[in-house]
Amino acid sequence: MESRIVSICRRYADDRTRLMDILLEVQRELRGIEPAAMELIARQLGITRVEVEGVVSFYAFFSRRTKGEIIIRVCDDIIDRHAGGREIAKVFVEELGLAIGTTSADGRFSLEITPFLGMSDQAPSAMVNETILTRLTVQKVRLVCARLREGTEPRDLVVHTGDGNNSHPLIRAEVNNNIRLAGEVLLCPVPANAGLRSALQRRPQELLAELEESGLTGRGGAGFPTGKKWRAAADTAATRRFIICNADEGEPGTFKDRVLLTERADLMIEGMTIAAYTVGSDAGIIYLRGEYSYLRPYLESVLQARREHGVLGKNIGGKQGFDFDIRIQLGAGAYICGEESALISSCEGLRGEPKNRPPFPVESGYLGFPTVVDNVETYCCAARIMEQGGAWFGSFGTDRSSGTKLFSVSGDCARPGVYELPFGITVRDLLDRVDAPDAAAVQVGGPSGEMINMSQFERRLCLEDLPTGGSVMVFSQRRNILEIVDHFLEFFVEESCGYCTPCRVGNVFLKKRIEKVRKGLCELEDLAYLKELGKTIAVTSRCGLGHTSPNPVLSTIRNFPLVYAVLLKEHGDGVQASFDIQAALEESRRLAKRRSMIYDPNYDEA
């Protein structure tokens, strides 16, 4: 073990900031990062064991115990659950004779649940080591398990590879793009490097002006004006600057970056290169979520091809002195690492905890240098803007939300998938396209967004009305709204980084109270409690996760008051509906072997 660990660390020059990569490799090679391994890594990097353990314990894909040779992770987002994900997990349990969260005695298999794989348009899904399996059925799972037991390699489980680059020899995934509607900016055919060529003929200041004219706003969810961000980074007096592409795509229901990474990787990297030229950067990082590691070999090959074509690396596009190269940073299963400052922490080999702001990443980001963090789609748009002009881009969309947007639609509709449409279309328009005649509720923007009811389907998808990073989940009348809310809270409880109390503790309280509502044990006052607590969490949390985690509760109280009303009870006698004296006495009755003189009416008959 020792020599393997030492050689892994050496490969990263014993650089402590590359701890993520080191741990990913140790995890893969040794199938776990045991205390002795942490000790060795710490010694090799000259840090304390606790620092290593802090990182190991933070990420879902690292484990302190040795895992099976084959790790099966069944996706458990709400869409997968509605598509039968729970049953799928049960079949794995039966077939492998393993409880969820355990490893078989022979060390062959580990079975786990994972919050979101990014495949809601082809649910239910699971990940077997790095191989993604989609549209699972009971029969298919039985077959998969049988083949795995026979010794089939996970990647050989793939029978039918998907459309487009999903069948590329370096991807070969059972994933489909499900591009249902290609718009005029990103999913239409795009010329290679036209934006970059045009950009390199102009001065950075002109590019900033072009970007500002386009009105491009961040596609990752927050909608910050991209031109303003790039300008802020360019205006710093720093010796180095970094360009980071956020390919963490962790917001449940979002899978459009998956499609862009598969089909528009060149365009995205072109956009990053333009950003580098514009703000003056020589190095970039693509932060790729661990769940998408199946795309990594392909992305590496695209980077390599670009280097060979002179559009990445030294003297890009023949421009003397413009050097820029990119590395891929793989994540390890943490939603919070999509938050830009947590993402930077992760790239620095730290726990994926958000940082205090200010300073903002554009002032002090990766390793303390000004850093531009943008979403995959944002870079793709930027490249198109440099080719076609800001005015052209601004001609799509609304006043404050220009351009087209990729919407990833999933749930109760006939045509789930990715739709490229101008910002500002109505929810109803989108529902018609996805063929969802019995839609009763739509969750816009993922769990952190807003749940709207049927009377609100005329609302528009744009920053002015309903913002979304892409996630649109459709629910029919058959679905239980509060089950969905409960599930979203479970997600936030699980994914909170735990740094600040309102989020770490508050979300647990929110969830407990929602559970009570679901059991019919709440009264009107409990709604006031939920609203008050939700507001407190939103206002006092440290980062965007806590700012938005109460949204499932707050938006459904607002938009689905009747769902709550039918479950609330009113007790005139002043007792709390949630207090159950019979349950509270159960244990005592058993231990004392007698009944209650007060609360068991037939006490004497005992």
């Binding site: 002043g574 709390q576 207090f579 349950a583 509270a584 159960e586 244990e587 005592s588 609360y599």
Partner: protein, 185 residues
């Protein structure tokens, strides 16, 4: 007409009642305005009629506490949780910390009566007489069990705090407590 007050100590230590006596000579003033109904202060064990104010010390750790509390809720217009035990469970609530056990109540009793080195219990039995009320699975605060109108923190709340509260309540005015009067220890 004089207002009627009832008081009781549930899973408390009577410290809060002692604190009420700490209002000293103001007791006489209080008695000008109120009449005590059910209370340990006069040893009345039953409500004689409906009361305006109920003061409850201590949380609920057994069925009798719950029963008494429900009776207070039924018989009092305004119910006040007095002291840390009533508001948050106080010292008794420490047993709720036994969480990662399959049988927390048994573990609690065994530690209290059998296992601890501090225990002298020659009969080696856990008390279990038919006259003893059954324990609840965990300790509940008053607000867990019934609607509570006011909560006065402190262990115990000082005589002044109690006096100021009652004075304001009887006068029908909002109570103003100085910062130092609101303590949780």
């Amino acid at each position: 007409m004089k207002k009627r007050i009832a008081t009781v100590s549930l899973a408390g230590c009577f410290g809060c009642h002692m604190s009420l006596l700490d209002i000293d000579e103001r007791l006489l003033e209080l008695l000008q305005q109120v009449e005590f109904d059910r209370s340990p202060l006069n040893d009345l064990k039953r409500f004689t009629r409906r009361c305006d104010i109920g003061l409850v010390e201590g949380g609920c750790c057994n069925e009798e506490n719950v029963h008494t509390l429900q009776e207070f809720r039924r018989n009092c217009d305004v119910l006040i949780a007095v002291g840390q035990c009533a508001v948050m469970g106080g010292l008794p609530v420490m047993r709720n910390a036994i969480m990662h056990s399959d049988d927390p109540l048994r573990e609690c009793l065994e530690t209290a009566y059998l296992d601890s080195d501090k225990v002298y219990n020659p009969s080696n039995q856990i008390p279990n007489d038919a006259a003893l009320p059954l324990l609840l699975d965990k300790v509940y605060t008053l607000a867990d069990v019934v609607k509570v109108d006011y909560q006065i923190p402190g262990c115990p709340p000082s005589g002044d705090t109690l006096w100021n509260t009652l004075e304001a309540l009887l006068a029908g005015k909002p109570v103003e407590l100085a910062y130092e009067q609101l303590r949780y220890d």
